[in-house]
Symmetry: C2
Subunit: 325 residues, 2 copies
């Protein structure tokens, strides 16, 4: 069904303020979920208010707190709060520090859930004329190439680059299928695609149950994909003091912001990044279709939805959310 | 043939000092080529002293010079020198700055060749208890996913992480086959592997000539691989003031060093990175083979070769090198 974006935001805010979060905190979390819905990543959207661990129902242990701070960095203990709240605090911090000192790195640990649509944070950094790099570890799902046990999280990373138009925002998971992809297939009684997962004995499987007891393959089925998963595991695990190769659900994340003024300069970078996009878009395609620039092209779609004031959301989800309030 | 490593170094130094490089500069370049040979990447080794543009025969326009400097960054104009010389200068600089200020970023442009075995630099940074990230752009070879024209370089990136044993060093190209892979197949009259390249009309080809006039696919044949190629093109192009989406041969590179003391602390990071490796290595494999940790495991092999004092090199290359002196 179509629902007014303002009404959807209000519903999410009401759910999130019903127990543990202040109106300001609820707004920060809602902004991330809404961004996911507006960019077509609905597995990171309103669905996060349902399931076995709805964001509004998991009690934080204590408020997020800064446990270390330098002129270039902040280490945040999430206190068991919802990931997006801690992700927002971290992003605001990394932008603030990088605006002052041209570089910043912020790490978070101890959130009860993932920070959600990781491109949200990279875009926010890029919107401040900074280059953003964001990565997040998660419970072990993906094999080390050559092995058959789950080791790494699906471990997404995102990059945001300012241009003279929209930011370029590229994000990707290290896994051939996301965990929510397995959950969805199981719930719908569907088979998985071929060659994305193995069972506990290391045999390829299309059965989501077997895959959940087994492991997921890296996105490219090679050492490169599992190498990138390892890189994220190190940056968003040991570097931020979070668990690693873990199934405890202590999620870690890392946020980096670099001011292009450190090198070629922000104006020059943005001009040339725009020029780079122009060159890429001028390329031929085999079928005459348009070249797609990550984040950059979808931003027009997001603006159009925002302007229309309405968004398409599954009616059952809306009704369930209303009933829960 | 087996050759003493000391003799091989001496031969390379003599070639490199024959025209344009000082003994000190020659040593810096030789160290990178030798590292490539010692780690089995012989397309980045002694072969660089042969071919159409031997490292010793291309005249630099002027000595590498610093064109911008802050407490956290340095921008270097390579002056048309061999990539590895500028890569070494950049790496020493990024380590020096990051040791003082906990973070540094160094960009280079205007080298006449690639910086070579990119893992060399990431390892050197990691050997200084810093996390290293290195990436390099190169002339356009790889498609934007969906397109059929060459756009990005093979654009390798490398990550180095200190541990309590050897550093973890992970490096990868964004392309399904390297440019030297095409050159080699052409020289030997061999076909390319299936599904790594397209001809100028966008059709898959196994003919190296057609591929050279066409383009190479991203390593995973998906938007993720070309997205990573784009990330490197932006970081080692517009950010460092180098050319991009280019065939001019103005190579750009980026060097980043992060002190783990900014977040969880270097001791804690190294301890947990070692623990992470232990967990990964304890995983099962389907065939009982050992799990391979990038860079970390090969370091033992490199040490063994160094200790033996001898290395296996193609006899013809050695003889040709001697004859050229």
């Amino acid at each position: 069904m179509k629902i007014k974006i303002a009404e959807l935001s209000d519903l999410m805010n009401r759910a999130l303020t019903s127990k543990y979060y202040s109106p300001k905190e609820a707004e920060m979390i809602t902004e991330v979920f809404l961004f996911a819905e507006l960019t077509g990543k609905n597995t990171q959207g309103i669905i996060k208010l349902f399931g076995t661990e709805p964001a509004q129902d998991v009690k934080p242990k204590y408020p997020p707190k800064i446990i270390k701070e330098t002129n270039l960095s902040t280490l945040i203990d999430g206190g068991g709060a919802a990931g997006p709240l801690v992700g927002q605090i971290a992003t605001d911090k990394v932008i603030d520090l990088a605006k002052k000192n041209n570089f910043a790195i912020v790490g978070t640990s101890n959130t009860f859930s993932s920070i959600g649509a990781i491109g949200f944070y990279a875009r926010k950094i890029a919107n401040n004329n900074l280059i953003g790099i964001v990565a997040a570890s998660s419970p072990k799902t993906v094999i080390q190439f050559g092995g058959i046990d789950p080791m790494y999280g699906t471990n997404p990373m995102a990059y945001g680059f300012p241009t003279n138009e929209y930011p370029i925002v590229f994000d990707m998971a290290a896994s051939a299928i996301t965990w929510s992809g397995l959950v969805r297939a199981k719930a719908l009684g569907e088979k998985l695609p071929e060659n994305v997962a193995i069972d506990k004995d290391g045999n390829l499987t299309t059965d989501p149950d077997e895959a959940m007891q087994g492991a997921v393959l890296p996105f490219d089925r090679s050492y490169k994909g599992s190498g990138l998963a390892m890189v994220v595991e190190l940056l968003a695990g040991p570097l931020v003091g979070a668990s690693f190769v873990q199934s405890t659900g202590d999620w870690g994340s890392i946020f980096i912001a670099i001011n292009p003024d450190l090198l070629a300069g922000a104006d020059s970078f943005k001009k040339n990044a725009s020029e780079l996009i122009k060159k890429i878009k001028a390329g031929r395609t085999k079928d005459g279709q348009k070249i797609h620039i990550p984040g950059y092209d979808s931003e027009k779609a997001r603006e159009a939805i925002l302007q229309s004031g309405e968004i398409e959301i599954d009616e059952k989800l809306i009704n369930d959310l209303k009933a829960s309030l």
